[in-house]
């Protein structure tokens, strides 16, 4: 039965090529947009190397402070705060502190070299699985002893040293000299935790002021032994915040926040005023809602085309009805036809999306970002295609199944 439906569906699609083209154009276009959006979100928030332990890693990305005179601010936490309230959390396997990337300019032989610099500690390299092209990471000891060592990414090595190996050589960053200990593969600009061009030990920060700062530009990453330990660590963090002692209670009397994934943190920033509750579900709902609103116009368009196409087949429906096919059978048949059509369009859309993503990768708009269609994105795309196919097929199928056999046979339709 299903095989017959599929056969009929293919025949129908090939008979009226223009309609098939119109439908496929709409479907493919819609799915290109949705797939590119999904690939983008997946690239920013999905589990990608070097974040291979993402399932048991959470971060402290933002805190919210409040006080009687300064009002409320949402900022990156400072080193002083993280060192005292996050690094001491019991139950974690490793905890790393690092700065948000910051652009610095260096001149080499008169040429301007821009690089994003991140200060971090030894644990950073153990939580994240960077692929080293040469050398290795700096260690907690380098950090403590303020050794002037640096890890570069491949592109920065090329900018400074051409194609030659860099380990052991000296590089000048922002007027200071560092010895290169390792070179890693480029990591995308859009990954908040690992991204940088140059990684330096926190100990080499010139100014010691950061050591006590409550606000700043630091973040923390926490690796738990098992994913199931995460709720307990989150609870520990909450009670640590409850014990918060302010250096200046008139200025800041309360700090709130939570440990979360980057996506969860974004949802907290958007929907949870005090950053205390993760609202990932709500954010996901909003994104799906947005996708739904976007598909409204293509859906109406596809329904229009399908209705026109189906009316053309009125006599076929009349015959089937006259021979006793129930409305439900007919609805089923046309749904299958529509889903086949959308799947073909979906595949087309997928191929086009790959081209679009290749174009974005090539544009250099986001440094080192390689947007890709992985199985996860393919799955999202497939689900969206099916949803779209059913959504746009139900109404025309229902319209058709309600045709009166006599009218249908005559082909006289309103």
């Amino acid at each position: 039965m299903l095989r017959n439906y599929l056969k009929v569906a293919l025949k129908v699609l090939l008979r009226r090529r223009f309609y098939t083209f119109i439908s496929l154009f709409g479907i493919a276009f819609t799915l290109v947009v949705l797939t590119v959006a999904a690939a983008f979100l997946d690239h920013v928030f999905g589990d990608l190397p070097p974040e291979t332990h993402a399932d048991r890693t959470r971060g402290v990305y933002m805190i919210r402070t409040a006080g009687p005179t300064t009002g409320r601010t949402m900022t990156f936490p400072g080193y002083g705060f993280l060192d005292r309230y996050v690094r001491t959390l019991p139950g974690a396997e490793r905890i790393s502190l690092f700065t948000f990337q910051e652009k610095v300019v260096t001149y080499k032989d008169g040429a301007r070299i821009e690089a994003y610099r991140k200060y971090t500690d030894g644990a950073f390299w153990q939580i994240l699985d960077f692929r080293f092209l040469e050398g290795g990471p700096f260690t907690a000891r380098d950090d403590q002893e303020k050794n002037r060592v640096a890890v570069l990414n491949a592109s920065t090595r090329r900018r400074f040293f051409g194609d030659e190996p860099a380990a052991g050589r000296t590089v000048e960053i922002d007027g200071e000299r560092f010895r290169v200990v390792g070179v890693v593969e480029d990591v995308s600009y859009l990954r908040i935790t690992p991204f940088a061009d140059v990684w330096l030990p926190i100990g080499t920060l010139r100014d010691e002021k950061y050591r006590t700062a409550l606000h700043g530009n630091f973040m923390a990453s926490i690796l738990a032994p098992r994913a199931s330990d995460l709720p307990r660590i989150a609870e520990e963090y909450r009670s640590a915040l409850a014990r918060f002692e302010s250096p200046d209670p008139k200025d800041v009397s309360e700090v709130t926040g939570g440990i979360d994934t980057p996506f969860g943190m974004l949802s907290r920033m958007l929907f949870s005023q005090k950053l205390e509750e993760s609202r990932s579900g709500q954010l996901l709902g909003w994104l799906l809602g947005l996708a739904f609103v976007f598909t409204l116009l293509p859906t109406v368009n596809l329904i229009n085309v399908s209705v026109s196409r189906i009316l053309e087949r009125a006599s076929e429906i009349g015959v089937r009805k006259a021979f006793g096919a129930s409305s439900l059978t007919l609805v089923g048949q046309f749904l299958v036809e529509n889903v086949v059509l959308t799947l073909v369009g979906g595949l087309l859309g997928f191929a086009l999306a790959a081209l679009v993503l290749g174009g974005i990768n090539g544009s250099g708009l986001f440094p080192y970002a390689r947007f890709a269609l992985n199985p996860r994105v393919f799955l999202y795309g497939l689900l969206m295609t099916l949803f779209f196919g059913v959504l746009s097929g139900v109404y025309p199928a229902w319209r058709m199944s309600r045709l009166h056999p006599v009218d249908a046979l005559k082909g006289a339709l309103r």
């Binding site: 223009f18 309609y19 083209f21 119109i22 154009f25 709409g26 276009f29 947009v33 009687p68 005179t69 300064t70 900022t75 400072g78 700065t99 948000f100 910051e102 652009k103 610095v104 300019v105 001149y107 008169g110 301007r112 922002d174 007027g175 010139r206 100014d207 002021k209 950061y210 700062a213 409550l214 606000h215 700043g216 530009n217 630091f218 200025d251 409204l296 116009l297 293509p298 109406v300 368009n301 596809l302 329904i303 229009n304 085309v305 209705v307 026109s308 196409r309 009316l311 053309e312 708009l365 339709l413 309103r414």
Partner: protein, 411 residues
């Protein structure tokens, strides 16, 4: 003629309704895109109010340093340091002039303060600048005067407001000599150590649209940077105007000089032209992506309409043939096809426009003016009608090809 067309469409309202719904959604999409496009074009043609060519921005100190300053630690040494750096830069031979400011131009950050006068009270962007700023950035003062060294002795902070702020706060009143700082409440007093700030207007300048040409018209004012005494703060950025024709290698020399003066600092030197370009990219890329998606959507809608019309022409061959047999011209028939589509499109458009006019009426997006909305609605309607006519071209030509004889020997 039109009444007949409406009647024809009304008789087949079930199948036409879907087309109308499609037109309605398309209109909303085009309206949204047009609003953004018109808004940005409208902004683009306004004067920027300053000259960014041959100007370098020097950022002094990283974010963590700035926040640490706010925590109140060692802010006096930072102030001394920033003054010293400014003096050093001013002495370089390629430098025409240099000034200090708090928040740089072409940057996503901004400072706001509340302003108040005659019962009107709102937040306004502002910046804190030194006396040379007007000369370096070529700010045009249209009324009153710019800051001068003698202002050090004033018991209040002198400010200059832009034309927009003058208009929004004072209307036709004379702004000179007025205090625009809001009446202090206890909360604000506590924050400022018991002393109410006083911002007194000494002049009016055309504008300083720090985010670039695409920024909307916004109220803005410039405070005079206090170099000493209570309330004085360091400046975090220097703007440096270099002599025309200065090579790019000067940036490196400037950076070396700064590092020599103050070794413990991170500096970032960027030409304003470069900062403007990245700001433009940042603002234009999402716009272009949205416009591209909307463009493809319109192609899709047009193709869909062609399909629907084609089908309807094919189904109504008998009716069309009969009209031809009774003496209707080909032109008349094709006009009917087009006319019917236009009637349906108008129905969808009317609903769309009714929804769109709510935006200016309710002031949903406050910073977009009614004029921009009106233009966007008109343009969107025009685009939709254009689309309709294009979509109807082929099917209406097809209708003219129907032979009268077909009507007679159909079936």
């Amino acid at each position: 003629m039109i009444r007949q067309l409406v009647k024809l469409c009304w008789n087949r309202k079930r199948s036409q309704a879907l087309v109308a719904v499609e037109v309605f959604f398309s209109f909303l999409v085009v309206f949204a895109v047009m609003t953004v496009v018109v808004y940005n074009l409208d902004n683009y043609r306004r004067p920027l109010g300053f000259d960014y060519k041959d100007v370098l921005n020097v950022n002094l100190g990283s974010l963590s340093d700035i926040v640490a300053e706010h925590d109140g630690r060692s802010s006096s040494t930072a102030r001394e340091e920033s003054r010293r750096l400014l003096r050093e830069v001013q002495e370089l031979d390629a430098v025409e002039g240099a000034a200090g400011m708090a928040v740089p131009a072409f940057d996503l950050t901004g400072m706001t303060d509340e302003v108040e006068h005659g019962g009107r009270r709102f937040e306004s962007y502002n910046d804190e600048v030194t006396d040379d700023f007007a000369q370096v950035m070529r700010i045009r003062v249209t009324q009153g005067r710019w800051f001068e060294a003698a202002d050090d002795a004033l018991p209040y902070t002198p400010v200059l407001v832009n034309e927009r702020l003058k208009h929004d706060l004072f209307g036709s009143e004379d702004p000179l000599g007025q205090n625009i700082a809001p009446k202090p409440d206890e909360h604000a007093l506590g924050r400022n150590g018991g002393q109410a700030p006083e911002f007194r207007v000494v002049g009016v300048f055309t504008d300083f649209r720090e985010d670039g040409e695409l920024q909307g018209p916004e109220p803005y004012f410039l405070k005079r940077s206090r170099v000493a005494g209570a309330g004085a703060s360091p400046y975090y950025n220097l703007v440096v105007r270099v002599r025309p024709g200065t090579p790019a290698s000067f940036e490196e020399r400037l950076l070396e000089r700064l590092r020599a003066v103050s070794p413990g600092h991170t500096f970032q030197v960027d030409p304003l032209t470069k900062m403007r370009r990245s700001m433009m990219t940042l603002k234009l890329v999402p716009l272009l992506a949205a416009a591209l998606v909307a463009g493809f959507m319109l192609v899709m809608v047009a193709l869909g309409m062609v399909g629907v019309l084609w089908q309807s022409v094919a189904r109504r061959r008998r009716e069309i043939g009969l009209r031809r047999a009774l003496g209707a011209t080909g032109r008349g028939v094709s006009l009917q096809v087009l006319g019917e589509l236009l009637v349906v499109a108008t129905a969808g458009l009317l609903v769309g426009v009714a929804l769109a006019v709510q935006f200016p009426l309710l002031g949903v997006v406050g910073w977009v003016s009614t004029g921009v909305y009106a233009t966007a609605i008109a343009l969107a309607a025009l685009v939709i009608y254009g689309l309709t006519v294009v979509a109807a071209l082929y099917p209406s030509w097809l209708a003219t090809q129907v032979q009268p004889a077909e009507a007679l020997h159909y079936e």
